[in-house]
Symmetry: C2
């Protein structure tokens, strides 16, 4: 978007300045939240340890933004073997960005893979073209056999492509007809991504922004902010890199994985007890005597919807 879309370009620059200030507050609140909740999360982990199936039941009630990606088979795997889930804002301790998130799933024995923990990290990074967001690295899953691979080979191929591209000079990418990228693109084409397993989430990469590039981009961004605040004109580098941006997503087997990570960190994780209690209530409802009328069932649903807090 260029400034001429706004009647008043001064307003646009002011809006951008305000957005930056709001973002600072948001980050500061994440820090405060982490400080105020740390002990509670430790206590919660202790209480949860005594409750069988806590996390599978929470995920069963999870918001649509996450639930829509959990296929029936995923659901069975999670229900039978997910024993723990944790979210850490892992850069916080070293004074880094609280928006960087590590999500760790712990599993008991299951027929699909041999891993006992799968951890996916998302780093908050800044790019030179003004973009900022979460980037990640693919996480390999050790499937017990080829036909137990819930992603039908997609995750392995993404890991291979990433490993191959790490050998190339910075910023270079594999050609579409170079292996293993060729196989990945063919497999993506063949399966489509509509009903892809939730476990493909571990394959997300996002934009290829290194820690160094991010640091420099952040500095440039801060310099621009200072200029805006001082009322100086800022050289807004426009969309010249759009084509590159697009290329970076062509091997993404779970393009919205960053949004899902944020949903887990900002909704599922803090509200886990609420979701768990809802799951218990649903169980209670489905145990209800069939003589109860439909109207009464609706009542129970309606009430739940408008209550912010369960009955004590």
């Amino acid at each position: 978007m260029s400034d001429d879309k706004i009647e008043n370009p001064v307003s646009f620059s002011k809006l951008q300045e305000l957005e930056d200030d709001f973002e600072d507050v948001e980050v500061e609140l994440l820090r405060q939240q982490a400080k105020l909740t740390a002990d509670l999360y430790t206590k919660r982990a202790q209480v949860i340890a005594d409750i069988p199936n806590f996390w599978p039941l929470v995920l069963e009630q999870s918001p649509a933004d996450l639930d829509e990606y959990i296929q029936p088979t995923d659901s069975a795997v999670l229900l039978n073997s997910l024993t723990d889930l944790s979210v850490e804002r892992f850069e916080l301790a070293s004074g880094g960005d609280p928006r960087s998130i590590a999500i760790k799933l712990t599993f008991g024995p299951n027929e699909y893979f041999s891993d006992t923990t799968l951890e996916k990290k998302f780093w908050w990074r800044y790019a030179k073209d003004g973009w900022a967001g979460l980037v990640s690295e693919p996480v390999k899953i050790n499937w017990k056999s080829k036909d137990k691979d819930l992603t039908q080979g997609l995750l392995d191929l993404v890991c291979q492509v990433r490993a191959a591209e790490r050998q190339l000079p910075a910023g270079k990418k594999l050609d579409d007809d170079a292996e293993p990228k060729k196989s990945l693109l063919a497999q993506m084409e063949a399966t489509g991504l509509g009903g892809v397993s939730f476990f493909a989430w571990f394959g997300f990469c996002g934009r290829n922004v290194s820690a160094e590039e991010s640091k420099e981009a952040f500095k440039e961004e801060q310099a621009k902010r200072q200029k805006r605040k001082a009322g100086e004109e800022v050289d807004e580098d426009d969309d010249e890199d759009d084509d590159d941006d697009f290329d970076e997503y062509d091997t993404e087997i779970f393009p919205t994985a960053d949004d899902v990570a944020v949903c887990i960190a900002e909704d599922v994780w803090p509200n886990a007890i609420k979701y768990f209690i809802t799951a218990m209530e649903h169980d209670a409802l489905s145990d209800m005597d069939f003589e109860e009328s439909d109207e009464e069932m609706e009542e129970a649903d309606g009430e739940e919807h408008t209550s912010k807090k369960r009955k004590a």
Copy 2:
């Protein structure tokens, strides 16, 4: 739900205790957020004042939780006449609950109603049965004529029912066949609530919990919390009031209005600049040369989805 649904009743009491502690932190963070953002919202209001159609454009991009309630006619009214929107956590200044919300819409001249401002308040209240949530009072809209009434009489009837019930002894309600309740129920039956106007949102009441009852219920709740913390047994008064609860919703013409209010306060209001910028980008896209391929359009959409921040 009764405790016997959980294998370990001790865990349940501990979970409830934790939920209460998490709630305290949430409320404290709302206070801090209000403190840290107050100046920014003042500045934003000044900048926005220079931008025509700021709020209508924001609402056009609003999240599905709100957007699904805005009918095409509502949308036209808002686009042509909404000049300002503001959210205030109005009990905060007096040390009250930061979850109480006032939402004020300001309008220019339009063919539907003569009001220049419509303000809807939601109070955070506690009920004696353990429920807590937002309650409200219906807000009358002065429609220019009967056929300009976007709610087809529903809002007027809700206002009349509420006024009539205020004359009754506390806790008493109108019989279903007493006017004006009879007409309201008939009109709700006749119109159905599927495609009801967004303006019916002003009719929401929620549970009939007075400020006094809320104060007492809060005290009782706090006493229970102390007991739980001390490891004492707590008398959990169970669902004996369920039938009453249900009755309280039978004249609700916009049953999810409290959720919509929270969506406006926690999403639309803080993220208004982001939504506005997205709206401007959509305008820019729809102005694009038709020679650009579909692929390029998808690119623009996809990129927007995964960027947390617009390009500077």
